[in-house]
Symmetry: C2
Subunit: 316 residues, 2 copies
């Protein structure tokens, strides 16, 4: 293993922290730890596991961290590398990048949102190979989107927070939504916790013929149509626990969503992908639940390659 | 004038076609022609004027064309350079790039949406200098957005069509909207023609205290908040005739819009720009109504510089 560079990847999610050591999805050890509500305590076993991997496999060339957010991605900022206004109180202001810098001093570190990381994973090894502009959406505990534009993860004022898109309400639906900031934004209506709050049943156990599935697919379609109008992505990868929740079946969720996205676009945007019914446009992640942690490895690889001498003269 | 390269720029809008010859906004001749409903006839005086400029000032090194749309921006496509599904019937499938290629054979041509062109103009000479990711919005006959991401205009499946974002309806507002595709999308509710349809009065003549201004600002704020969530732009430039329509006053329109964008974001996204009340975040175009045609000159300049030998080794 000593001739190929070894990387560490960390996907910090609101529920669990997934880590990996390796070079790519085919050569990767993987472990999971609960996120809990105390970041310092939660990161102890993560760092221990990564150190163990170094003993077993050799020294990491770089680490990549994809974190739930919002996070501060601006290197000059005093809060760079921290989680900011999350509803998850114990994690607010958590210095997640700093914790890994202290534990693994002196190696390059890539840092981005969990969803931008997942997008990078799907770009390098998954359902978005060869596409320069696409969106990776995850629907689970929250809803988020990672966006690649011109082959790079999109940053800006902060980073995209597409789960908080505002969408029209469907007639007759009085559920107020659960987002503490916006009530009935996309995440407030369609996240796993929103489905449970609406129905009293978890998404995993919600019967396939429950009306809430139709509502979830239709609201999701309005949000995806908004992403198509705002960004014109070449593909939308739709991951997370909600689209693959048990009783409905992922194929049915995708079929409902594709149909209602076409309805929401109303024939305005013309493209062969739309004419084909979106079957190869709105797709599940190829790396499945490993998109995020594989993306963290991709982030590590980028951070490392930026330090290589030939890259001093490249376009990056 | 012979030592500086001369460019031609064409901004093809739904109402008028603006053209320019020159190198930058400080050195630019400008003319306007009606778009009408027959593209072939409409382009005759445009091409005549440009040829006249060549006689007066020298040969163009390149042309840049920013067109209303939707347009086909994919060079390998058979309909590249054409307008596609516009509601403006006479212009549907108009081969706008082809017309200029036939009239000015052999010189490089840049082609993009009118709003991407305007974004390029503001990026090079206006309110977005030094920003790699921002949005240029125009609200007039239609609503559109040009998007720069990582320093380049964003293309993708097609191109952004942010005027067709779907937004929540405000309580008590039963106006159905006028978009032939979506009814009450942003453009269907807030374009100039929508304001006239709602009130029976043109935006220019609508009294400053008319309720429709508040509705227009609040719907616009919901759409801009969606762009912030989807794209996280570093700035939003808001141009077009609606924000500067007569009786209300542009400052009031911007003040109402900024306030309601902050309300719509609900404190979720944290950034110094938001803490400052968005005064330097949602701004008018510095090039005013010349943003588009200046952007067309910028497009021409890019098309020309891509043909220069040293650029064979650059990052483009």
């Amino acid at each position: 293993m000593n001739d190929t560079p070894l990387f560490g990847g960390i996907e910090a999610g609101g529920t669990k922290i997934v880590c990996a050591s390796g070079t790519d999805p085919e050569d990767m050890n993987r472990a999971e730890f609960p996120s809990g509500n105390d970041p310092e305590a939660a990161l102890v076993p993560v760092i221990q596991w990564l150190r163990g991997e170094e003993k077993r496999r050799g020294t990491f060339r770089a680490l990549g961290i994809g974190s739930f957010g919002p996070v501060d991605l601006a290197p000059p900022s005093p809060s760079y590398g921290r989680i900011t206004s999350t509803p998850k109180e114990g994690w607010r202001n958590a210095d997640i990048l700093g914790a890994f810098r202290r534990a693994f001093p002196g190696i390059p570190m890539g840092f981005d949102t969990d969803v931008n990381a997942a997008a990078m994973g799907e770009h390098r090894w998954g359902a978005a190979r060869g596409l320069d502009s696409f969106v990776y959406v995850t629907m689970g505990t929250g809803i988020g989107a990672g966006i690649m534009a011109g082959g790079k993860p999109l940053h800006g004022l902060v980073h995209p927070e597409a789960g908080h898109l505002r969408i029209p309400r469907l007639p007759g639906d009085s559920f107020p939504g659960i987002c503490p900031f916006h009530g009935d934004c996309w995440e407030g209506l369609c996240s796993g916790p929103a489905i449970r709050e609406r129905t009293g049943i978890s998404a995993e156990n919600l019967p396939a013929d429950h009306e809430a599935w139709k509502l979830t697919a239709r609201y999701t379609a309005l949000a995806l149509a908004n992403l198509v109008c705002a960004l014109s992505p070449r593909r939308i990868i739709l991951g997370g626990s909600v689209p693959r929740a048990g009783l409905l079946g992922r194929e049915d969720f995708f079929a409902m969503t594709r149909k209602t996205v076409l309805e929401a676009l109303g024939g305005y945007i013309l493209s062969p992908a739309l004419a084909r019914g979106l079957a190869d446009y709105i797709v599940p992640p190829l790396l499945e639940e490993n998109a995020g942690v594989c993306g963290a490895l991709a982030l590590a690889r980028e951070a490392w390659s930026e330090t290589l001498p030939q890259n001093g003269f490249s376009s990056r």
